[in-house]
Symmetry: C2
Subunit: 355 residues, 2 copies
Amino acid sequence: MVGAGQLARMTHQAAISLGLSLRVLAESAGDGGALVTPLVEIGAPDDAEAVERFAKGCDVVTFDHEHVPQPIIAGLERSGIAVRPGASALHFAQDKRAMRQRLGELGLPVPAWSDDPAALPRPYVAKAVTGGYDGRGVWFVDEGDPLPDIDLIVEERVSIVHELAIQVARTPSGKTRTWPVVETVQRDGICVQVVAPAPRLSPSFANSAEQLAITIATELDVVGVLTVELFEAPTGLVINELAMRPHNSGHWSIEGSATSQFEQHLRAILDWGLGDTRPRAPVSVMVNLLGGESTDLAASLPTALAEVPEASIHLYGKQARPGRKLGHVTVLGDDVAGVRDRAQRAVDILRGDPS
Amino acid sequence: MVGAGQLARMTHQAAISLGLSLRVLAESAGDGGALVTPLVEIGAPDDAEAVERFAKGCDVVTFDHEHVPQPIIAGLERSGIAVRPGASALHFAQDKRAMRQRLGELGLPVPAWSDDPAALPRPYVAKAVTGGYDGRGVWFVDEGDPLPDIDLIVEERVSIVHELAIQVARTPSGKTRTWPVVETVQRDGICVQVVAPAPRLSPSFANSAEQLAITIATELDVVGVLTVELFEAPTGLVINELAMRPHNSGHWSIEGSATSQFEQHLRAILDWGLGDTRPRAPVSVMVNLLGGESTDLAASLPTALAEVPEASIHLYGKQARPGRKLGHVTVLGDDVAGVRDRAQRAVDILRGDPS
């Protein structure tokens, strides 16, 4: 796996069960994924030589993030290395212009968009074509606001009823399996909470979302886990973003589904049978742990464990900093409000927030 | 953790979530637990110098097995190292004579037993005082059978209705939490299957088992997870064996309980809050994967994953050998017979048994 953040960390947990040896290419030995795995090489994801040297020791190469440049990925494929997802699929997760064009060609629901900022009425959303994530690279642009001087596209502001996400895993031989659609709660462009399955979604929208995910995975030839972030608009579903890897919106699946997104990603890229994705409980809620002003996990963890004994706490091995994703908490149960309260309570304690 | 077998391997998976750094003392770099953890030292568990050097780098020392000699453990404690469970408790998991004596003094139900083979009528069971596990060190002795020439005790053969196990975690400050009693199925002294909760147990026996486990953990001052193997006899429960660590009979808890035995053991030895132990499903069945004559996991794993998509498969990173514990499979569901069939089916495929 190229990259050694929290996704590599949780992928290693799944790899252990399957008897696999996960190798990681870490930017630094202190990366969360490097701290817990024995097979670590150090190198930057945009250093072609480092990535190639690393990849030669692997049966299959996959990714913790989208920051490996296209030419490097394509170069690996030309050397005969199994890269999953492959360069042509990853292109659509790395380049928002290409993604919007391709999804439009497929007749799938995307917001009105343009390369030309003058072509859309303001207010609109401007998005960096490459490199954005977690709210970075996205601007809400009103009358008179300046535009950043980078390669960007502009999109209509969709009227949002709820934000949703749907994940699907796909094997090289084309088998697919979806998880239930989830509802995501975003703050400042960062996902703060996920409720699985989405509690306020009509069955027909849920079905549409699943079909959308399968269509995208198949048409874009995605291998591994594909995450589709969706807007539920009054008129129907609109595709927001794609990620071709395990994703924050799927962390609930570690406890909440018979097969976690991390195990499924490994099974998919190895062309093994895909696992059952049924939920383990009527409701799973995942709340992200973002660093607060006075977060001290060494002090707060024992209290959180004691106060919310039903919480599954996942820490990412990172130093606390305000706003940084330090971990997440999942709680399973029967009713959305109660489960959400308990997960949030554990996160509040971990952050060191006054109760 | 002293020892780096499958328990260390699964403990590492739990340690990752809690943000802990699990260090292991492995006999060999190829041990299952050493293969997947970055902080490995090599040394034998009965090499006092190796164990002491290892222990000095740890905040808390715990064990993957019972094979560290008492004097070494006591020596660590004298050096001020936190050893959990401690030497005085571990003594009762290492020495069957001491265990039987102590449990008898506490008035707890143990089989009739003696140091003197002539004191009990045959047939009886002879047990090595130290070093036995997985059926080794246990002999069913009939009229005329020779006795092995080692330090042993003899016990009456209990009339067994079912075999059971109960686990409890206990913190240094004395908090305890039990899991539901499970039924175990043994073959040749090795646990082959566990059904959780025990499906054919009266509530009063279940309650007795929980009270027994809490009493033993408290009276013996156990810290961490204690496993009590029990016989359900026509007249009541009888204590068979003790283990002061995560145990094969608790592997179901990884998926089947809100808190796994591995996470709970870490929480207990760190004196953190203990987690919720309620089951995630009406039935969890764990089936051990023992090597067969033609087991080839690289060939059989993809088939098992595809044929039994609801199975949670855990492999231990070992070379296949007939009779060797190579992994286990857990399935959750609603009815014992169906769930058991599916878990067994996955194991049969993994072993390479004809279907």
